[in-house]
Symmetry: C2
Subunit: 229 residues, 2 copies
């Protein structure tokens, strides 16, 4: 069955990155369309009324297209339609743990860390909202440390975040952390288990496109694409 | 296979309500434990480190327990382990639409409406944070109207929110709207298609426990449990 895929994404959007990692890991080729989601392009709003990236369009050989909007919907869809390699887990308990951690990063981390750090360092720049506020940056960095400590505790007893196998939980965490890392804000050396885990992920072929991302006016930290950071 | 279920939930939490509706619709019996999540009870934090409701604990006849945390993880789990009645949709495009709308309500509605209306009217009361701010209430009610208009547009062409069949998208929307409705803030008469849809949902057996919810100090609107509102 031949399916053509087009992904509308923004390179520094953690939700988009999760989908790019999953497509890469499942070796599914796709065409890329970079979407400046904050511009709210009418054609893009027709595809996804929420106006958010990522959106995946799958076109069958027959010409019939399916539009899949929002990160979780796309990830569950990919795992249902291309089950190998499995990225959710085989047993109900494994799947529950993978999904618990996806929610942890997409909700809790996003609210507590991205809402401060990425808002101040990235969104304000992209949307022309002025200089970052130091108090917000400080609060974001403190929240980030709490999340890194939690990941480190998990990874001291597990090969991967959700257990013995690579899963979408790893992609969720890595997608979020990699954007923060682009801005140089991850204190890796204080969280050795998490650093080792991130080195393993960074070396995977699916990760390479993310390390090549650059956005005009936003220069990544020197170590951003360094596999030996 | 005999499975005993215990649901930790808070009656006026939209995420918890979605799980109660799904359990009810699938006719799965469960024991209830009402959790005042804001008290951050240590035993509850051991179950779910994020401290959020809902949490479902399934105990097999063998005594082995599986802890499933967070709304989306529980809903996907229930649909995988008890596939009938199907609440996600059979075709990939249907499942994508159901999940798109789940995200719409859990993220966009939650941020734009609950973050203002429920925060001011419920959370401030529960957590002793003082009186509601009128400007926030006004902004929340305005955002609510935009969401109701969107639901109404969808429901003018569809039997249920995601298409021809009842799905988790309906439960997501109804769980959120029903909590807002507890506080009397839904202008139903201006959105007739949505009102008809909500009447259909309210009459389902799975909805009855939600209509019986009361919380000390928070009195529901007079029409809250009225099937002919």
């Amino acid at each position: 069955m031949s399916v053509e895929r087009t992904l509308y994404h923004f390179p520094l959007d953690p939700a988009s990155r999760q989908v790019r990692l999953a497509l890469g890991e499942k070796r599914l080729a796709f065409q890329e369309k970079v979407e400046k989601y904050w511009e709210q392009r009418p054609d893009f709003l027709t595809l996804n009324p929420s106006g958010l990236t990522p959106v995946l369009v799958e076109t069958q050989g027959s010409g019939r297209a399916t539009v899949i909007c929002e990160c979780r919907a796309i990830l569950e869809h990919l795992d249902e339609t291309t089950p190998e390699p499995d990225l959710l887990g085989r047993e109900p308990a494994d799947r529950a743990e993978t999904r618990r951690l996806m929610q942890w990063f997409d909700r809790k981390f996003d609210f507590e860390v991205n809402g401060l750090l990425l808002h101040e360092k990235m969104e304000k720049r992209l949307h022309g909202l002025g200089a970052p506020e130091l108090a917000a940056l400080r609060a974001g960095r403190e929240a980030l440390r709490a999340h890194l400590a939690y990941a480190d505790k998990l990874l001291q007893g597990r090969d991967w975040l959700a257990g013995r196998r690579l899963s979408l939980a790893d992609f969720a965490a890595a997608a979020h952390l990699s954007v923060i890392d682009y801005f140089g804000d991850v204190p890796w050396r204080d969280y050795p288990a998490t650093k080792t885990w991130y080195m393993k992920l960074k070396s995977r072929p699916c990760f390479r496109p993310l390390l090549a991302d650059r956005w005009p006016g936003l220069t990544p930290a020197a170590h951003y694409d360094d596999l030996d950071f």
